[in-house]
Symmetry: C2
Subunit: 237 residues, 2 copies
Amino acid sequence: MNTVDVCISPQLYPVYHKDSSIVVVIDILRATSAMCTAFEHGAAKIIPVAAIEEAAEYKKQGFLVGAERNGIAIEGFDFGNSPFSYMTEKIKGQTIVISTTNGTQAIHAARNAYKLVIGAFTNITALCNWLKLQDRNVLLLCSGWKNKFNLEDTLFAGAAAGILMEDHSLFKSGDGALAASFLYESAQDNPYKYLRNSSHTERLAELGLKKDIKYCFSLDQTAVIPVLEGKYLVPLS
Amino acid sequence: MNTVDVCISPQLYPVYHKDSSIVVVIDILRATSAMCTAFEHGAAKIIPVAAIEEAAEYKKQGFLVGAERNGIAIEGFDFGNSPFSYMTEKIKGQTIVISTTNGTQAIHAARNAYKLVIGAFTNITALCNWLKLQDRNVLLLCSGWKNKFNLEDTLFAGAAAGILMEDHSLFKSGDGALAASFLYESAQDNPYKYLRNSSHTERLAELGLKKDIKYCFSLDQTAVIPVLEGKYLVPLS
């Protein structure tokens, strides 16, 4: 039977890597949520880059570029990390570049996975329906915060793991998936109880980004599943 | 204010390390539970070693040695990893050597911490009372399973974090501590619901070790707090 498990930090990815696994990269606040939004609003491709210098290089070449560190958009680029900044006509049909604090680092860590897809609450149902059909091990890879555990990515991982484990014949769960799904189960009636004390939520709320947080926790805004092909993320067809 | 946080794998320890932190090493099934038992039954010192070869070297030198891999005691040594094997007169006043799959690896990872102590459900109240008096950051370091997340160590970390956070003036919690405490809170009425599907519990149950599991989840069997001094664990005086 295939397994579903959760890895809470890009730094632990090598411990969880299996050649045959589909890896779901998760950065709820806000990289992977923003990526789903960008595709929903017509972006053709996204180039995820880890280093700011690389993002600046693309900017010089004329690409539309989003870049953010520690929750703050970097001056001189076209977008920050807010999903709302990608709800614009100007990305339609474009290849855009995104560099973020944690999300693109996780993509970089797992770039050689059998298949790498992007997960967010905003595409959770489409994503899980697709995963159920693949007959593959699934690893839910949380971007975390500078390689530490974070709460929001694990809550999403728990939500997704819970959906995948609903049908007991499909997946056996690792301890990480089990714990994350218990966590989500006890959080789902009142996620704000869980999140109000979390480090990154606090950080974003201080930056005036409560609207972003609310959006990033809203389910099923899109049916798009971004998938990594070479250096590009593209909508799974 | 001091912080309390949880690190779920020895491999992530460098990300969480602070020069000023007290590190609590946790390997509930069964290394740190067994270590507490050994001191409660009169052991003078414990030398934790990571490699089997090193354990064998000590055995040759005449030490009493416990060694275990993957839940099974290794032939030719004096103890395995069962706390019950340390409930014996012969360890009284002795320096014993313990090598285990995960616990001693975690001790090795954090050996240069400001202070390293040993935590288990069996010494939880004494441990937390002492931690509250230290005015230090506390890092609860789970040994995990071969550097992966495991459920039982995180449940203990959540129990301890919950006790430390009871008085809000003492500790600010990291996301890991927050999640672990939520997990323990929702598990405490029925820990077996949580554990019955966990990988290591399953592994030990298959090996006929349900009695060990029950003991390792029993609270406050001892008031001893093992602390690392050089290469030795000794009872904190």
